[in-house]
């Protein structure tokens, strides 16, 4: 043994969390909670038929929150030596004394209802059961399938990744919960064209369950198709046109909407949607849901980092803003109820998506119904401002003429304002898939500025 052990054999995660909560109380904290995460990670990158990197590792960490006299302090460590952890907890209680009292600080009362973690189907034993050979073979086969297409001129490599973790939360209010989850992913990045006119794109599939993962041929086919369709782009002149967002693009737009309905942004006045609860913020096509309870979905979980049960929340209903997403702190600040959205010290989405309504149509029909416009397929850069709702990003797309895809365009930007976009979505697609926690179908925005020459 290399380091001084100050407390005998390693306790179980649950015991460790309980011991730290008790110790924090003993040190003078009025309230405390402890999160412990134990994770295992596997990652293999295969490029040009050879393994480039292979990572395998396990890691643990603990995070502690203490509240004393309505003052909050945090501490965390990946060194789980009990002596180290106790010192950090003592420091945290002492440090809390130097903060300012905050009448809204504190843990929530113990929730009466619990979500059954097993019913959420977050864990697939098949992921843990995969051997390294199988995982390497999946990545190798994905790349081989993609490179069979002669238009592909280079590869960033294919990756298979898997993850297993256990999260434990123990709070001084009596809450104790834990759950296990798994994740696996298969993806590839490609280039097409010569050195000076190359284009690139990627595709990946991420699931909690191995059986739901797209097979190598499917991942390769999508990555190839997404890459080669950008070959020989044109520049276009600056104009205002309808912009159709592919589902991958609707995802980032919804990620931006999430940032604008997060209770933290609202009390900080950092969102243009502050003060709009109950008001119309978009047209009747817009219904947005945050649902932590979808079985097997990537963003599902039974309780949040406040120990409150997760749930399904309708955020926007037919254009009307029905709910902000709040942790316990933001909810108290705003005089609302927590939506079970606590994520670390902040607020996070679970499965946050735009729900196609009765008028939804196929993406094909949306394109066919567009005389002239841009099908947005990729974006580059930041350019999102939640305070104003302004959007300005580098873009890649396919130009639409008379309802058909005419040619790829690049070196352009798109700009607009989220508030105006929500009011002017002309069509919503039926192609909603839960490929990522924040997701949506194809949408058509009536008008945005596309800047080019």
């Amino acid at each position: 043994m290399l380091r001084q052990e100050s407390s005998g054999p390693a306790p179980s995660l649950r015991d460790l969390a309980e011991a730290l909560v008790a110790y924090a109380r003993k040190c003078g904290a009025d309230e405390a909670d402890v999160t412990v995460i134990d994770g295992y990670e596997f990652n293999v990158d295969v490029r040009r038929g050879r393994i480039e990197t292979l990572v395998e590792a396990g890691s643990r960490s603990a995070g502690v929150r203490v509240i004393k006299d309505k003052k909050t302090a945090y501490t965390s460590s990946s060194d789980l030596d009990m002596g180290t952890l106790r010192r950090l907890v003592r420091n945290a209680v002492r440090r809390a004394g130097l903060g300012n009292p905050d009448e809204f600080a504190g843990l929530p009362p113990l929730a009466e209802e619990l979500v059954d973690a097993a019913a959420l189907d977050l864990c697939d034993p098949a992921v843990a059961g995969l051997d390294s050979k199988t995982k390497i073979a999946l990545a190798t086969e994905t790349e081989r399938a993609a490179l069979r297409d002669k238009r592909i001129t280079n590869s960033y490599g294919a990756t298979f990744a898997s993850n297993e973790s256990r999260s434990v939360l123990v709070q001084s209010n009596g809450f104790a919960g834990e759950y296990e989850q798994t994740y696996c992913g298969l993806g590839i990045g490609l280039q097409a064209g010569g050195t000076d006119d190359r284009v690139e794109d990627s595709w990946s599939s991420s699931k909690r369950h191995f059986r739901e993962l797209e097979p190598p041929e499917e991942v390769a086919r999508k990555a190839v198709e997404r890459t080669v369709r950008q070959l020989r782009p044109r520049k276009i002149r600056t104009q205002n046109v309808p912009v159709i967002f592919e589902p991958t693009q609707t995802s980032w737009l919804l990620g931006f909407l999430f940032a604008c309905v997060s209770g933290t942004s609202v009390y900080q006045k950092a969102t243009f949607l502050e003060g709009r609860l109950g008001q119309r913020i978009g047209n009747e096509r817009i219904t947005v849901v945050d649902d932590a309870l979808r079985p097997g979905a990537l963003g599902s979980h039974p309780f949040d980092s406040d120990g409150l049960p997760c749930r399904r929340t309708v955020v926007v209903e037919k254009g009307v803003l029905r709910s902000y997403l709040c942790n316990y702190y933001a909810a108290r600040k705003l005089g609302l109820r927590s939506t079970g959205s606590a994520d670390g010290n902040g607020v996070g989405p679970s499965n946050f998506y735009l729900e196609p309504g009765p008028g939804a149509m196929s993406s094909k029909d949306i394109i066919a119904g567009t005389k002239k416009g841009l099908l947005l397929i990729r974006t580059l850069g930041h350019g999102l401002n939640s305070v104003t709702g302004d959007i300005s990003r580098g873009a890649f797309g396919l130009w639409i003429e008379d309802g058909e895809i005419a040619y790829p365009v690049s070196e352009i930007t798109i700009s607009g304002n989220l508030g105006r976009i929500l009011e002017s979505i002309e069509a919503v697609g039926t192609d909603l898939e839960f490929l990522s926690p924040v997701t949506g179908p194809t949408i058509k925005v009536a008008e945005m500025t596309v800047a080019g020459e």
């Binding site: 905050d102 580098g394 930007t413």
Partner: protein
């Protein structure tokens, strides 16, 4: 990708560049938290090479952080964190095996070494690795007089409050202020199968302020910050908390009067300092050696060839004292050196790490193999990247543009290997008749690296560096960086403004 300001206008992070003058250099005492003797390390390296690897390395890290968050005029949160762990890398040819653990028992470390070794999958070709030898360091690039890590919390809270008050008091239209303070001290020890034993302790501090202004129901946000590989004296001698608060508030208030950005191609003038983001994206990433070795970079075959205007000379220098992007050794123990990337428009160098240098036929190491933490292996990264000063007077450059767009401050940028890049302007100005007129709201600019580099037609004499708060992301790894440039004119670029 460079984030000067993180996604979500009110999240934490930062951009800014103030030219921090070199302070007295005082190396921090190295503290060993790992309890592994040289003999232990050598035996672990031997296990790592037991399946035929031709290189093995142990990276140990003990990282201590403090944070303070102030919002709504109260100190809302403080935090202290420890990250302790060890990563083992084994290379055979072009394959890398990597394992890491934060359980530093000898048994767990041995297992981690075997995990990393599995990549090689052969028989040991080596006998015992050579004895480990530490090297004496001549000098440190960290400039610390008042180490932040040991300073009392009260002293740091005072700094945070000063920034908050300055922003609050700047203008009645400031409605919300948030201040974030962070310091950390990172001890690393690296041993490899070539006999290297290297240690370093690097400090970093950061103070950032976000201010929100409001007028007639309209809101805007401003950001400013500073810090570096320095101590708390930075906030007394170089950039005061008051200046940080005032600048954040000034930007937020200025934006209240700002107009929408124009859309389309036009001449661009970049302010000195901040605009180094352009070089970071348009050149720096594309000259990281891994992208050249894999031939994914548009510049992979351009060594010795002209890719830009004669006016453009670019360096990356990890040895600038006190800078956020500086370090004494990189993530694989190599002392870094100032590296010439572009000389008068011609490609002269790449940013190298060990793996790329080996695979590219023994190219010299430049000390740019950086890693986020022990959970990641090193890859070629930028440190402090800048365009060297030219000869034009900045005011002449501005005067030369009849109608165009002036980039005053930036929030970040992104590039792909094909050379298409963007950068996001958080505050700009219209140029009319050679003068700055109306302030302009956020806009993204897009271009291609080769196109834009050729269109840089004026370079000012006023080299400056951006905010000491920038973070660069690549392959899921974040590292601190700084960028710099003098006033520049670009003949034309596409501005992503609005006409609807």
């Amino acid at each position: 990708m460079l984030r000067v300001k993180p996604p979500g206008a009110f999240a934490w992070g930062g951009r800014l560049c103030h030219d921090g003058n070199a302070l007295t250099q005082s190396p921090l005492p190295y503290v060993d938290h790992f309890g592994l003797s040289a003999a232990d390390l050598r035996s672990i390296l031997q296990i790592a090479l037991s399946t035929g690897g031709d290189f093995a390395e142990i990276y140990m890290e003990h990282w201590l952080y403090h944070f303070i968050n102030m919002e709504e005029d109260i100190i809302k949160e403080t935090a202290e964190s420890i990250s302790l762990g060890l990563g083992i890398r084994v290379i055979r040819g072009d394959r890398t095996g990597y394992g890491y653990t934060n359980d530093l028992s000898m048994d767990k470390i041995r297992k981690t070494a075997l995990t990393a070794a599995a990549i090689a999958g052969g028989k040991a070709a080596h006998s015992l690795p050579p004895p480990l030898r530490g090297r004496a360091r001549e000098k440190s690039v960290y400039a610390v007089r008042r180490p932040a890590h040991d300073a009392p919390l009260r002293e740091k809270i005072k700094i945070v409050r000063a920034a908050n008050e300055a922003a609050r008091g700047y203008d009645p239209r400031i409605v919300r202020v948030k201040v974030h303070y962070a310091d950390s001290l990172r001890h690393i020890c690296i041993a490899n199968s070539e006999g290297l034993l290297a240690r370093d302790s690097s400090p970093i501090v950061k103070l950032a302020c976000v201010a929100i202004s409001e007028k007639d129901g309209k809101r805007e946000v401003g950001y400013w910050g500073g810090g570096g590989k320095v101590g708390l004296e930075q906030f007394r001698d170089v950039l005061t908390p008051r200046e940080i608060g005032v600048e954040a508030a000034r930007e937020a208030v200025t934006l209240l009067e700002a107009v929408d950005a124009p859309a389309g191609e036009m001449p661009i003038v970049l302010a000195p300092g901040h605009s180094g983001v352009l070089i970071h994206e348009a050149v720096g990433h594309l000259l990281e050696a891994d992208f050249s070795r894999k031939r994914t970079s548009v510049f992979w075959n351009k060594m010795g060839k002209r890719i830009g205007s004669e006016l453009v000379t670019i360096y990356d220098d990890p040895t600038i004292p006190s800078f956020r992007g500086s370090y004494n050794i990189d993530g694989e123990g190599t002392p870094p050196r100032k590296t010439l990337l572009l000389e008068k428009g011609v490609v002269r160098g790449l940013l190298q790490d060990r793996l790329s240098a080996r695979l590219m036929g023994g190219a010299g190491l430049t000390g740019h193999g950086r890693r986020q933490d022990y959970g990641h292996w090193p890859i070629p990264r930028m440190a402090n990247t800048y365009i060297a000063a030219g000869e034009d007077a900045p005011e002449d450059i501005l005067r030369s543009v009849r109608k165009g767009f002036y980039v005053a401050s930036l929030s970040g940028g992104q590039v792909e290997d094909s050379g298409k890049f963007t950068f996001s302007v958080s505050l700009g100005y219209l140029i009319e008749g050679g003068k700055l007129t109306a302030p302009v709201k956020q806009a993204t600019l897009i271009g291609t690296s080769s196109g834009t580099l050729k269109k840089i037609d004026r370079v000012g004499s006023d080299l400056a560096f951006g905010l000491q708060t920038g973070t660069c992301s690549k392959d899921g790894q974040d590292v601190p960086v700084t960028d710099g440039c003098p006033t520049l004119r670009i003949e034309k670029m596409t501005v992503g403004g609005r006409t609807c």
